[in-house]
């Protein structure tokens, strides 16, 4: 049984046609189900928990990265499979997991290629794609064994579970959400003519890990989870292996 969660931004009139087409396609494929429209007044966690108790096995997020991350955090605590129908801008995760936009995503859902993938966990908050932090102010204590310090100011640190789209040149083994590891990606600040080479392998560092502690060198700094939630340092990060069942497409990048 399927549960479709529509993001609140889809209430805009311009999305009516797309949604109607998607609903028709889902009915044609025989994977129709209950539809709920998210709103700030509705408690999503309670809703999801009730539906799973009622026999729902698959939750399909209709929206963008922000919607998916919100639901991933809830579903990690329950036994269910997550699907995605990307609509609108900010859909990088959909590209990484190989799901095409709007109507075409229904075919991927119907094909139902389910992968058990890792999630990251920072202070009991789960994240799917990664964390962003300012490298000039933090120190990373990995596996209780060694410390990583980016000596250059303005280095960008990303803790990745899924492959960032900007990365080129590194093989498919890197940033694999099925390997039970997260990766620290340190990118030095690009300047002048070398701005174009920001994605080159030579200048960046990739260090796989299972557990680390983020501390700040001065006052507490913030860590951005999947581009939406802010967490203050110190914070502990660890991998939650094979925590999420996700419907993926053939064009996925892992």
């Amino acid at each position: 049984m399927y549960l479709y969660l529509y993001d609140s931004f889809l209430n805009k009139k311009k999305y009516n046609t797309v949604l109607a087409r998607i609903e028709t396609r889902l009915t044609d494929l025989g994977i129709g189900g209950k539809i709920f429209r998210l709103s700030p007044l509705r408690n999503v966690e309670e809703l999801v928990a009730d539906e799973i108790r009622g026999g729902t096995k698959t939750i399909v997020v209709v929206g963008n990265d922000k919607t998916l991350n919100q639901i991933v955090n809830i579903s990690a605590r329950h036994d269910c499979t997550i699907g995605l129908i990307p609509i609108g801008p900010d859909n990088t995760i959909a590209r990484i997991i190989g799901i095409p936009e709007s109507e075409a995503a229904c075919n991927v859902l119907a094909a139902r290629m389910v992968k058990k993938i890792d999630l990251g966990k920072i202070n009991n908050v789960y994240f799917l794609s990664g964390l962003q932090l300012d490298g000039s102010a933090v120190t990373l204590h990995c596996e209780n064994q060694y410390v990583i310090t980016p000596p250059r100011p303005k280095s960008a640190i990303t803790i990745c579970n899924l492959r960032p789209l900007s990365i080129t040149g590194l093989g498919i083994a890197y940033f694999n959400p099925e390997d039970g590891l997260l990766e620290v990606l340190v990118q030095p600040p690009a300047s002048g003519l070398f701005k174009m080479r920001k994605g080159s392998i030579a200048s960046q560092s990739v260090i796989p890990f299972k557990k680390l502690l983020i501390t700040s060198r001065g006052s507490s700094t913030s860590v951005l989870t999947d581009g939406q939630q802010i967490i203050k340092t110190p914070a502990s990060v660890e991998v939650a292996p094979r925590k999420l069942r996700l419907i993926v497409g053939k064009e996925r990048r892992f």
Binding site: S155, G171, I172, S203, Q204, I207, P208
Partner: protein, 146 residues
């Protein structure tokens, strides 16, 4: 040992880039590429590549290693160790096979080749006490007979 940049890398490598400093016991299961600074201990079960600009203040252990940067500490390699012309090693070096390019700098004891002695040497060693016993016995019998 390592694939060139840009080629599809199938096995995961740890890359310590020039923008990073690592302190402590860094123990990796896969290949490691160091272009930055490492201090403490560096150990990998697979291959290690130390880039030209890298500085390592640590004892190093790896399966195979290609060194083009600076290492201040002992290096122990189970397989092949290659020092390029830009390598600077201040410490003892131990490897099964050692290749040193002209221009490389090595300050320390150097041990290359297998630890184990050859079969012939072992047989000779085992045979030595027996020969001595026989000689003693022969000498004793000669004294008695005389």
């Amino acid at each position: 040992m390592f694939k060139k940049e840009g080629e599809g890398v199938e096995e995961i490598e740890t890359i310590i880039g020039p923008s990073v400093q690592v302190e402590g016991d860094f123990i990796a299961a896969g290949d490691v590429v160091v272009e930055g600074m490492v201090s403490g201990k560096l150990k990998t079960e697979k291959n290690l590549r130390v880039g030209t600009g890298a500085k390592i203040f640590a004892s190093v252990a790896a399966q195979n290693a290609l060194i083009a940067g600076e290492i201040q500490g002992n290096v122990k390699v189970d397989g092949n160790l290659e020092l390029t012309g830009t390598a600077r090693v201040f410490g003892d070096v131990k490897a099964k096979t050692l290749t040193i390019a002209s221009g490389a700098c090595l300050h320390g004891k150097c041990q290359a080749g297998e630890d184990r002695k050859s079969k012939l040497e072992k047989i000779e060693e085992r045979a030595k006490p027996k020969l001595r016993e026989k000689e003693k016995a022969a000498a004793a019998s000669a004294i008695i007979s005389s």
